[in-house]
Symmetry: C2
Subunit: 301 residues, 2 copies
DNA sequence: CCGACGTATAAAATCAGCTTATGCATTCGA
DNA sequence: TCGAATGCATAAGCTGATTTTATACGTCGG
């Protein structure tokens, strides 16, 4: 009694009908859709044959909707208008949201203090920041950009160099004074060391200090540099970390850098995003702003 | 500042998204659209690349809409739902309307008295009847079916034989009596003749009466048979028309058929409709009903 | 009466979209 | 714990729908 809804007619034909009905002309519809008039004519005919109903009355120099066409047009126009605004809105929102995933250290010690400036410059962009050590998949769409450490070679992604990963011992001035004169890097071996053994090894090696691995293993590795620096400030040992990230503590005198030598880890910090999304407004705005901030940070680089 | 709406993404990709979002599965979407899962996957990827946004999060054995997908889906589902009902309704209405264009004679004297029966049998079909001598173009969609006289050969159209075009003199009994004994067809030459000269000529010839063309030209040609019959009933002359169409007048005695011979014009009456629309419910219902009525009319044919 | 305009149509070219075949990761069942 | 089943991704290749090109037709306007 009641036939099933059945599949929709070919959608390209429907689009041609929509444009022709709205513009009242095959020629103009063709222009709008960047096609030829012949293509519109063909598509409309296809649709009419499929529906078994004439949609336009072909008059000498114009077309007029038939009774059936007139009946169909409003709903089709509505639907297409809905589609257009849906895509426009969704994209505009998508392009004005920025989900950042960042390593905790650079996030709390470098990014967060500056993010306010980005918001001032781009109030239209809503920012969401996620800090975690796990490597989020930028292709999955959960995050728009990441701040990662590495070598900048992530296939399918675009990476911009941000900051070098600098490492140098940092300690509380009280500990330094208590340790007496720290004349050479080797003197640090007497103190408790906090932070990644690999970094300590690299720094010592670059200073000509040969260290037994066992000695390095004895260091306190808390995993999160923020904690390590907190421990260092408390005088519990010497941390090894980036002077860039703890400039505030250095300037306020909570921390001191006992030796001038700064080593550089091979893994720098990069801004990364999926190459397919490079055109997103939020991403381009953030990239421009962030790279300028980074360049201001290490102008000598 | 505000980018133009821009063209819609490829609609086939949008359709794939709609189905996948609604069904929550590429595989099921493929089933619904009678395609393969690979095709859905391809289309969704196309759409995502076009939009520069991931729409689904691919999890091991399922997919989940991303934030952006979730944002897009409701409006897309709405729009497609609108399209579906629009087509369904328009088609249902189109298939339940019947616009008939008919020659006036057969319309008023044969079709109209029977149309009530069609309406009883098919109350769902709304009927509109247009009577005119002009030959409406069935391809233009203004009319669904036509009742035409001719030979049944209209390219692009399907034609069903309805009734023969019969012609025989008809007159009022009073005129017949006044004319005295009408023994042979030639006696009619003495009376005023009403109707198409060509028909008179044919009928006379088939009865072996040789008539000068001039005599035939003198007949009264009113163009519309209804008028001619009215004139005949008033006793103003002898009309030549179809006994089928004026059976009521013959039975009531208003008209008489003075001679048994009935000529047959080469142009019969046909039910005609555009072949492309043969599947329309209204048309098929009307065809079935009308052919049965016509067969009941001339069972001997 | 001629040129411009808007549509229809035929033939030929193209390319988007589909299928087939396969791989991979996970879940489920035993 | 293992194998089968499930669901999505990907590559390669084909096909036919769609588009363009070229042309014709009918009307309107000057």
């Amino acid at each position: 009694m009641h036939s099933t809804p059945g599949p929709l007619p070919p959608l390209n034909a429907v689009r041609a009908f929509e444009a022709a009905a709205r513009l009242g002309s095959f020629t103009r519809a063709a222009q709008e859709l960047s096609m030829t008039q012949a293509a519109i004519s063909y598509q409309i005919k296809q649709l009419e044959q499929r529906l078994g109903v004439m949609l336009f009355q072909r008059l000498p120099r114009k077309i007029v909707l038939t009774r059936d066409g007139e009946r169909l047009a409003p709903a089709i126009l509505d639907a297409f208008s809905g589609l257009r605004t849906a895509f426009a809105q969704a994209l505009s929102r998508a392009h004005n949201e920025l989900a950042i995933t960042s390593l905790p250290t650079i996030a709390s010690n470098w990014l967060v203090p500056r993010l306010g400036g980005f918001h001032l410059a781009h109030a239209e962009v809503a920012v969401r920041l996620d800090t975690s050590i796990t490597l989020a998949d930028l292709q999955q769409g959960e995050f728009d950009v990441a701040i990662r450490s590495g070598r900048g070679d992530w296939p399918g992604h675009t990476a911009h160099f941000l900051l070098p990963s600098l490492i140098t011992p940092l300690m509380s001035p009280r500990l330094r004074d208590a340790a007496g004169g720290l004349k050479s890097p080797a003197d640090l071996l007497k103190l408790a060391r906090i932070g990644r053994p690999r970094w300590w090894q690299q720094w010592f090696e670059e200073n000509g200090v040969d260290v037994a691995e066992t000695a390095l293993r004895a260091s306190l590795d808390l995993g999160i540099e923020q904690y390590e620096i907190t421990a260092a400030i408390a005088g519990q040992g010497v941390a090894i970390s980036s002077p860039l990230f703890f400039r505030a503590e250095l300037e306020s005198g909570q921390l001191v850098q006992p030796f001038a030598h700064v080593a550089r880890d091979s893994k720098d910090y990069w801004l990364v995003y999926a190459t397919t999304r490079a055109k997103s407004h939020a991403i381009t705005a953030f990239r421009t702003w962030l790279l300028r901030e980074a360049r201001a940070e290490v102008p000598a680089d």
